[in-house]
Amino acid sequence: MTYSHLTGLLDTDAIRKDFPVLSRVLHDGKPLVYLDNAATSQKPRQVLEALNAYYEQHNSNVHRGVHVLAEEATALYEGARDKVAAFINAPSRNEVIFTKNASESLNLVANMLGWADEPYRVDADSEIVITEMEHHSNIVPWQLLAQRTGAKLKWFGLTDEGRLDLSNIDELITEKTKIVSVTLVSNLLGTVNPVETIVRKAQSVGALVAIDASQAAPHAALDVQALEADFVAFTGHKMLAPTGIGVLWGRQELLEDLPPFLGGGEMIETVTMGSSTYAPAPHKFEAGTPPIAQAIGLGAAIDYLSAIGMDKVAAHEHAITAYAIERLAEVPDLRIIGPRTAVDRGAAISFTLGDIHPHDVGQVLDEQGIAVRVGHHCARPVCLRYGIPATTRASFYLYSTPGEVDALIDGLHHVRNFFA
């Protein structure tokens, strides 16, 4: 096969050498074809080296020490915050809060608003707006907040094409809306959402906007100032970084006004038994020993991505995704759940294959070394919306190749034969 018609591909031969796991061979000789990147990404050697260097030379608790290791660890940890701030074009490094994952970031927002004073406080008169394509991590925190405060939860529905249905935006986002929380890119459908429209509407009624960028930050340039949202959440493990690290970016004035969530070491200014005052953001929201090594690993991941260039990463994935959509059309009985074009679309493609259950599809693909994810992808409402129990999802990243797309297509033919 030649892929000369695909433009914007990265030099994956070189890139793949940085990822040890990609040379794994499975089941008697099948090279790993890792197409489960929307679930988690693989880690380049550069990130592992940053972790090892930290643990082997600088490991110490941060912020409170005057000894060399403590100063080095603090400089590395806070240096990672600088890298994140630059990566997302944050106006201030103090707006970058480290969490354990995107789920914690989103729960942090929900809980801050539950305990906030006016005008932010979510209470029985408030409305919360989400969408039907959210990941469970951007649904359940709002359900819990609604249950606990009496607020009303509303949501945008989806079109048959797998896009947000904005037709009733004026009914959904009203004077009662306190917060709108929406994903930038759907992890199941792959849809890239027109969040500007939502942000503009929310601003007009004085509602806050949180953006779940978990599937966006790894794949394209993210500019929190251009987004004009109030909060942006994402997760390290999907963008070449270790597990155990997430980010919440929030606007400085908000972070100053909103109450803390978790209490403990590091987030205080002064403590007496009777009461405490809190450190300024971001520390106010980072209780306890933070995920130090993991933040440093995220910094190294950002260095890696930035050296390649996020625009180039996006172009590569766009080419691979377009090619995959084209080739998936060849497979009989295959139905893509989500946009069937590569326009406004991320690199995750969900589909059904006749009435072969995704579990079975995934199992037979696995036997050929092809790793895809099957199930509801923590977005069960999307499956309900499209009347399917589950999907098979192939998702790409900067190291994915057109050859891997071909392997997937061959694999799917094999699946069909197997269950014929």
Partner: protein, 151 residues
Amino acid sequence: MKLDSMYQEIILDHYRNPHGKGLRDGDAEVHHVNPTCGDEITLRVKLDGAVVEDVSYESQGCSISQASASVLNDLVVGKTVGEAQQVQEAFLELMQSKGQSEGDEEILEDAVAFAGVSKYPARVKCALLGWMAWKDATAKALAGHPEITTD
């Protein structure tokens, strides 16, 4: 090929032509979900005294969970609850064996075909979905009939 150890021909047959599928009259009904993958089953048990008169079900899931419900129907309908419980326990044990057991064909009949599934931790829950639902529904049905003893 390793895969064949999971997808035995018997399993694929049950999957293509499930036995006893559909919801019929019952003494108790349960709805079970496999949270990790979303497979679901609604299952009813009808007892005739201490005998399992019928196990009817509507389910949605993979070949393994479908076939396993079908085999369940084959194996427990017509048995006394006590006998059926023994089969259920033997099946549970087989599924937890991590590929170390072949299963007792005397007790498990067609269900020994699931021995290969026990090597795939992610699929064990699929194979058990119907059986756990049956266990639960039977307990419910028995609770409504305190006169029935099973030991």
